[in-house]
Symmetry: C2
Subunit: 245 residues, 2 copies
Amino acid sequence: MRNFKITIQYEGTRYQGWQKQGSTDNTLQGKFEALLTRMAKAPVEIAASGRTDAGVHAWGQVANFHMDTEMMPKELMEKINSYLPEDVAVISCEEVPERFHSRLNAKKKTYRYRILNSPVPSVFDRRYVWQLPDRLDVEAMKKASCFFLGTHDFKSFTSAKKSKKSTVRSIQSIEIERVGNEVVLTFTGDGFLFHMVRILTGTLVEVGLGKRNAEEMEQLLLACDRQLAGPLAPACGLALMRVYY
Amino acid sequence: MRNFKITIQYEGTRYQGWQKQGSTDNTLQGKFEALLTRMAKAPVEIAASGRTDAGVHAWGQVANFHMDTEMMPKELMEKINSYLPEDVAVISCEEVPERFHSRLNAKKKTYRYRILNSPVPSVFDRRYVWQLPDRLDVEAMKKASCFFLGTHDFKSFTSAKKSKKSTVRSIQSIEIERVGNEVVLTFTGDGFLFHMVRILTGTLVEVGLGKRNAEEMEQLLLACDRQLAGPLAPACGLALMRVYY
């Protein structure tokens, strides 16, 4: 059995997220497993670097699967693409050592959140942005974001149900910049909890709107209470950009 | 009656083009007239700078209409946007002199044609590009495009049926550049015949693929015969970018 690592792009709009939910679902994992199983004429399981929520996009999701085939990686990629709907594409494919695992070996990830900060809607990017008409104070958001850098318990910033699993994560960088009429937030870290990037974004937006002070972020982290953080930003603005190994 | 000039963006995918085709059509002109007529409670006609074909996009279509209203232009724009589907948006609105006409007063227009020159499909731009896997020779295309600059009879480059109307047009500039994995063609001229930009693009692509020589362009123009020019490039790659007054 050979092990293949693939990089995948998808527009998440139509899907219930990456992770399989049942036999008749509409998830990306489900689509890929059905397709690869048909190609291999034997059950194939696919593992991704992590889940993406319903409606979240990917410019560089990474996944791997074991398959018995004589195809070259490039040939395999083209074959898969010929079966995929047009809102999903494999953009690279390589053979990797048998023990490579896309989730367990992932070192860090970059997510990007795009806010259209304008009263005028965007026809061409409407599926990829969260539109906020009121002008955001980017400097205040930057100041607030510094409190999240490094290693913290992000329990206040996840929708995950109570569990014994650690909610400690490390964020390496958060870049916030105004690009034309957008405010773009780029998060890089070793891993992110369920809804974490979207709740961080929702909280930083409240800072940008003057509803919160940057300094509150410190207490928010210490409180370990989801109720105190900001709202969940919409899925459509978020995209998994890159997974580092 | 006040005269309003609006700039419109639309994703053409779902529409049969700008120009109204009947009472139960799915055209942009039809949508706008129905909406404005409902708002004004009296028939409103809208004139655009020109038609766009079915499936062609606009980043900056310009139109004008006369309407009896007390709304300020900004208020009117927001009102119209609140009724429009999300693949159409008014991005500016101003009051203009009574005699202003978006088509008759247009001095020149810029169209952009995007070619995805890669074997790998683009999930996020799939609705806005023509995908061509074989590498295009951009230098040869540039050389060929020079023959089209200036004033010529473009009869070979239109699908328009025989008519007594002039097929002479002036092209001011054609820029062709490789941008990442795309080849982008930008045409600016005083006006373009039916299908002209798409047939010019189809012909330049044949040059880029080595199927034609750049020098053939001169005879092609002189022949005034649609049969001799290249194929009609798909609508989805084309967008009306700007109208100059």
